[in-house]
């Protein structure tokens, strides 16, 4: 366990989904949700794309590069969004970050 709050994510960090967190197709509402203890987060296409990069092996930097080339977008812009998304989820213990 980390000693305290995570405040930023480095490019070398590795992200994984912890046990008890999983993506599910919510058939009744025709959308995807990320399920965690007492939480169901609705995933929009951007969230889905980021989640799709999480494999417990790739670094955050590699995730960002991969998304930037897939969407032909500026890696710096993408990087800001990806890190903000991951930081929010890490604060709620929905993803695990090892720096």
């Amino acid at each position: 366990m980390s000693g305290g709050a995570i405040v930023e994510i480095s490019d070398q960090a590795i992200v994984r989904l912890p046990s008890g967190v999983r993506l599910k197709k919510d058939e009744a509402r025709d959308r995807f949700v990320l399920l965690a203890p007492e939480r169901a987060l609705i995933m929009d296409p951007i969230g889905m794309a980021i989640l799709g990069e999480i494999d417990g092996v790739k670094t955050v930097g590699q995730m960002i590069d991969s998304l930037a080339s897939a969407y032909a977008a500026d890696p710096q812009m993408i990087g800001k969004d990806v890190k903000a998304f991951l930081l929010d989820l890490a604060g709620r213990r929905i993803v695990e970050i090892s720096q």
Binding site: A5, P18, S19, G20, A36, P37, A40
Partner: protein, 367 residues
């Protein structure tokens, strides 16, 4: 089918189901959320019927299933039920006192695909915890259960019901949750229905305690961001506006009691004029969409003043119907906890009566 009935249909689907598998429980907490009239073992639904309910719930849109009780481990088929829930595609949460679990059963539950365990703690030391629970040796056992859960890499939530007698040690409860490796802590102030109502003067927090608790929680959330998620249910008797109970009646969740009765919330049977359907007689989806009890307080037509024209009616839905029944003797009244209720003085009377320490013995659940 008339048009008015169609328009009463909820726009939302239920996202959670609370399955009260049994009312049997080794503990006897004086604020138990089960009804005062506990259902007998012989009336409980069979394994097959429960699994059918889980499948129907998943098809209806339920995402989270809470296996609760009483003590769900009192059901010998808990492992089989967990497997059935998992196969139905539900995110399966076990809400347990821990008593009745063993390491072997925990292995079987993990194997069956259990997603999450929510363990209740009644205090931070054995003297308090075991006295509140009415069960000697309980805390020690619970601490072992917490270790079994985390050793199997299952997410752990500590569930701490707080009240006048244990609020002073809230900080220690937060520390204990971190030490046990919990990812989440649920701090719920006692809700005064049923058993808790019978013990109200012993359990009612003071205004000072309620304020202190909110500050403690706020600070701990900041300090423990990314370590411990804290969900907090404040003392509604000390609030200005009522809580949006259940996120609005018949809007987000279902509760199935041990006999198959489907309730909009666990205390709904305290509203005696309502008629509740049973999963033995009717499909779950019909009950959700068309059941009399589910439609009783949907929309705004049932509301009285001041709720009917209130700018907050879509935020708190008039508060808690069961509390309105208990305090105003009218299930459609504004929840008296609301500062705009004409009966709000009742709350001040109750909380000031509770300022005088009441050391009389608890009315323990089921004893």
């Amino acid at each position: 089918m008339s048009d008015s009935r169609v328009t009463q249909k909820p726009r939302t689907l239920p996202d959670s189901l609370l399955a009260e598998l049994t009312h049997r429980c080794p503990l006897a907490c004086p604020y138990c959320s089960n009804p005062m009239e506990l259902k007998h073992h012989s009336e409980e639904l069979t394994t097959e019927v429960w699994i059918s309910v889980f499948r129907q719930a998943a098809a209806l849109g339920v995402l989270h299933l809470h296996l609760s009780g009483g003590e769900p481990a009192s059901r010998r088929d808990l492992e089989e039920l967990t497997k059935g829930a998992q196969e139905a595609g539900l995110y399966t949460n076990l809400i347990t006192s821990g008593i009745g679990l063993t390491e072997r059963r925990m292995d079987a539950l993990a194997e069956a695909g259990l997603d999450h365990v929510q363990l209740s703690l009644q205090g931070v030391d054995a003297a308090m915890a075991d006295r509140i629970a009415g069960y000697a040796g309980g805390l020690e056992r619970k601490l072992s259960v917490a270790a079994w859960v985390t050793a199997r890499n299952l997410p752990l939530t500590v569930n701490a019901v707080c009240h006048r007698q244990n609020f002073a040690r809230l900080d220690e409860m937060i520390d204990l949750a971190v030490r046990l490796g919990a990812r989440r802590l649920e701090i719920a102030t006692v809700q005064f229905h049923g058993w808790a109502q019978a013990n109200r003067n012993q359990l009612m927090p003071t205004l000072e305690q309620a304020k202190m608790a909110s500050e403690t929680v706020h600070a701990a959330r900041e300090r423990l961001k990314g370590v411990l998620v804290i969900d907090y249910v404040p003392a509604d008797y000390h609030a200005t506006f009522p809580k949006a109970c259940m996120g609005g009646w018949g809007r987000t969740g279902l509760n199935v009691d041990p006999t198959g009765k489907v309730l909009p919330c666990h205390a709904a049977e305290s509203i005696q004029h309502l008629r509740f359907d049973n999963v033995r007689d009717r499909p779950l989806a019909d009950i959700w969409f068309d059941g009399e009890a589910f439609n009783a307080f949907r929309g705004f037509d049932w509301m009285q003043e001041p709720c009917r024209t209130c700018d907050r009616r879509e935020l708190d839905f008039g508060g808690c119907r069961c509390q309105a029944m208990a305090l105003a003797n009218d299930s459609a009244a504004t929840d008296p906890v609301c500062s705009r209720s004409p009966l709000h003085q009742l709350i001040a009377d109750i909380t000031s009566a509770a300022l005088i320490a009441d050391d009389s013995p608890f009315v323990y659940r089921g004893r």
